[in-house]
């Protein structure tokens, strides 16, 4: 059976070049980057080169790059590393659980959080952020692109507000990496977190931009790795893989890959929206899609359950997801879609298609054949359908 993977926002496969770049660092150049001898120097040089690549990726200085284990660690570090009892924190209600759960923990330590809700379009209004600022506000954290809808948030404007008001600004850029060109000065952020595996790098490795002078307390303490910002022996193969993935991502943003990806996403979206009783999640008042990353579309289907459609599509060889993979097992309707004002039924009946950069026209066409069949079949059986139609 044909298998089509359309869940790139959950994770992506390594590109062969990434695998190749990492290969020598498992057995041949296995040294500890902190060691003085040749083995150590080889590893250290590889980490340094990777740091320079990441500096280009973020458009920052090499000394501002800290390697860590991925997006969750970056998000947690920003929050626990900057906020102290009595501080106020501003984030949004559509963040990843790595932010939301960290904020919940803060509450137990006397740190209050304001969760700014998005507009029905899915966009955060920077003015809402501005209005939430208090004298004791120390940190704002907003995602660059939403994992479920792909909606690109106006971080540049929020960065200006942060700068004007003297508040630190962290961007969870996990879902923007490799899809949006980064420039941390233009974003106006002090901190920014990414994860390698969302852009064809390995799992378990990530990086954080930490603007010089930001008083960030490390989450992990121990050795003097990463300029004392993150203790723990460097994951050299992972770091090399991340840098290779970042290099390829920068290249793909200049060679037309993103435009091609957007065109195929649009073709998929237009095709799926031909099915009666469907609609796009994330539109402005003018009915236009709001700014989004090129690979993601989130669509609601009336008269069926998203969960059943995900299973039916899986059995037909199509991997998609109802929302964030980080909530598997839990099946509360998406907090992102609910925050955008969808009711529970519609939030449960929504699917996220997130395409890999390597997606082909044939794959899109296969999905466009399978989805309408599955929807029709499910609706024919569904008591939800009977209830709605009757």
């Amino acid at each position: 059976m044909r298998r089509v993977y359309m869940d790139a926002n959950a994770t992506t496969p390594l590109l062969p070049e990434v695998m190749e770049a990492m290969r020598p660092f498992w057995m041949e150049h296995f040294g500890n980057a902190s060691s003085i001898h040749l083995h150590g120097q080889q590893a250290h040089a590889a980490v340094d080169r990777a740091r320079e690549t990441m500096a280009r990726f973020f458009a920052c200085h090499a000394a501002e790059v800290v390697f860590n284990s991925g997006g969750t660690e970056g998000d947690n570090t920003a929050i626990f590393g900057l906020l102290h009892p009595g501080d106020h924190f501003i984030t949004t209600s559509i963040e990843h659980s790595a932010i939301l759960e960290a904020a919940r923990r803060l509450a137990r330590h006397g740190i209050e959080t304001t969760f700014v809700a998005p507009q029905p379009s899915g966009l955060i209004d920077p003015m809402d952020i501005r209005r939430a600022i208090r004298p004791e506000t120390r940190l704002i954290s907003v995602m660059l692109a939403n994992n479920e809808t792909g909606i690109r948030q106006p971080v540049e404007e929020i960065g200006k507000i942060a700068s004007e008001t003297g508040v630190f600004f962290h961007i969870d850029a996990v879902q923007g990496a490799g899809k949006v060109e980064f420039n941390v000065r233009r974003f106006g952020c002090h901190l920014l977190s990414i994860s390698a595996h969302k852009m064809h790098g390995p799992k378990g490795i990530g990086a954080m931009f930490v603007r010089r002078g930001t008083p960030l307390e490390p989450l992990m303490v121990g050795g003097s790795h990463e300029r004392r910002q993150r203790a723990g022996t460097e994951n050299v193969p992972g770091i090399v893989g991340l840098a290779k993935a970042a290099e390829l991502a920068m290249h793909s943003m200049e060679d037309g890959t993103i435009d091609r990806l957007a065109a195929l996403r649009d073709r998929l979206e237009t095709g799926v929206l031909q099915i009666p009783g469907t609609g796009l999640n994330g539109k402005s008042d003018g009915d236009q899609p709001v700014p989004r990353v090129a690979n993601t579309t989130n669509i609601w289907f009336d008269q069926l359950e998203g969960e059943a459609l995900v299973i039916a599509l899986d059995l037909k060889g199509v991997s998609v997801s109802g929302g964030s993979a980080c909530h598997s097992g839990a099946t509360e309707p998406s907090h992102v879609l609910m925050a955008m004002g969808l009711d529970k039924t519609r939030a449960r009946a929504s699917l996220r298609f997130s395409l890999l950069k390597t997606v082909t026209e044939a794959e899109v066409d296969y999905v466009l054949k399978v989805v309408p069949e599955a929807v029709e079949h499910l609706r024919a059986l569904s008591p939800v359908a009977a209830g709605t139609l009757g």
Partner: protein, 378 residues
């Protein structure tokens, strides 16, 4: 879509349903049927951490409970081991509406509900069949100990007691309709529990020695009063005031009690009165909130009424019929004569008086090994 031969197995993470998956995934000749011919499903019905920390409910739920992450993990491991697709389907909202809510209301109304039958009748089979069909499976299989056979003479699906009578679960299955039975397989019906464990071992299932679960799946520790309190507190509701008098059958007031939901018919402990001979709860009055107590002898009754009937081996009860009746899961079926009593109601007259006929429980009627039908005791 054409009728498929795909079977969806309801997997709880226990030995029984895991063995069903193993039996179906690997046909008798040892050849594995094609990957998509068997699909494992787990209905996620209750979040075991939902009431954690409330009213004496532990912060972390015990392991090995239905719908716990541990059980989902076990079911997933079995599916991986067998090479079958596996999915968790969330039905928490419907479970709460169709099982938990009625369970709570029944207790508050002075009856003693059986959530497992509520679940089987109103949710499990209905929902499993629905989900199965939505993924292209025409039939479901479960790990219940029961036999389900088509009798062409009568043109009906017949539910029968299993070979392993100690594991007989037909009492909880009386509500299955003909349409549901026609699409349901009980592959363990002719096996004993030790045989099932042996099959699990032969298939290399790591959970072959996992202990049986006995308690109500959503009640941590089995303390239903604690559950009622914690659930109502979570819902922001008050426990209705049902305190009242504790009286004997001839009206003598022995004392007061704090609420009728603390009692169930036949209960002996925790009555809060002393008496020379043991006293048992005979009756709970949801209107006057009076709890009547009496001797063991007074607990016995000759008749019962049952409503909300479902018939399995017969289309309906036309006239008096001799049957054996089970009034509790662990009750030895007792001979009785069943008679229609108005619409959707029957009266049963036992040959010998039966102890603690409890409103809210079900009465299941047997003709030998066959389930004739059943209903809810009024």
């Amino acid at each position: 879509m054409t009728e498929s031969t795909t079977i969806a197995v309801a997997m709880s993470g226990g030995v029984d349903s895991s063995t069903v998956a193993a039996l179906l995934a690997h046909a008798g000749d040892g050849s594995a049927v094609s990957r998509n011919a068997v699909v494992g499903l787990t209905l996620q019905l209750w979040n075991q951490t939902r009431l954690a920390g409330r009213h004496g409910i532990p912060d972390t739920p015990k392991a090995g409970r239905c719908c716990s992450l541990d059980d989902v993990y076990d079911a997933r491991r079995v599916a991986e081991h067998l090479g079958i697709p596996y999915y968790v389907v969330n039905q928490e909202a419907r479970f709460e509406q169709d099982v938990v809510r009625p369970f709570v209301s029944e207790y508050l109304a002075g009856r003693t509900p059986i959530p497992c039958s509520l679940c089987n009748n109103h949710l499990k089979f209905d929902q499993l069949l629905q989900t199965a069909r939505s993924i292209g499976a025409s039939r479901i299989a479960t790990g219940h100990y029961a036999v389900n056979e088509y009798d062409s003479g009568r043109g009906r699906w017949i539910l029968k007691r299993p070979t392993d009578l100690a594991k007989d679960q037909t009492y909880f299955l009386f509500g299955l309709t003909q349409a549901q039975l026609a699409r349901t397989l009980f592959p363990l019906g002719r096996l004993t529990k030790p045989e099932v464990r042996e099959i699990a071992r032969q298939h290399g299932l790591a959970l072959a020695e996992k202990p049986d679960s006995q308690e109500i799946c959503f009640i941590p520790g089995g303390d239903y009063k604690q559950f009622l309190t914690a659930y109502l507190e979570e819902q922001g509701e008050q426990i209705p005031e049902t305190a009242g008098e504790l009286v004997t059958s001839n009206g003598e007031v022995l004392g007061r009690h704090e609420g009728i939901f603390n009692f169930t018919v036949g209960q002996r402990k925790g009555l809060g009165v002393s008496s020379p001979s043991p006293l048992y709860v005979l009756q709970l009055d949801p209107v006057s909130h009076r709890v009547t107590v009496g001797t063991d002898a007074e607990l016995a009754t000759r008749t019962l009424r049952a409503c909300h009937l479902n018939w399995i081996s017969i289309p309906e009860l036309a006239g008096p019929m001799r049957v054996q009746i089970k009034i509790r899961h662990r009750h030895e079926p007792a001979w009785a004569t069943l008679e229609p009593a108005g619409s959707d109601e029957v009266i049963a007259t036992f040959d010998e008086p039966q102890r603690a006929v409890t409103p809210g429980q079900s009465a299941v009627f047997y003709d030998g090994d066959e389930v004739v039908g059943g209903g809810w005791i009024v």
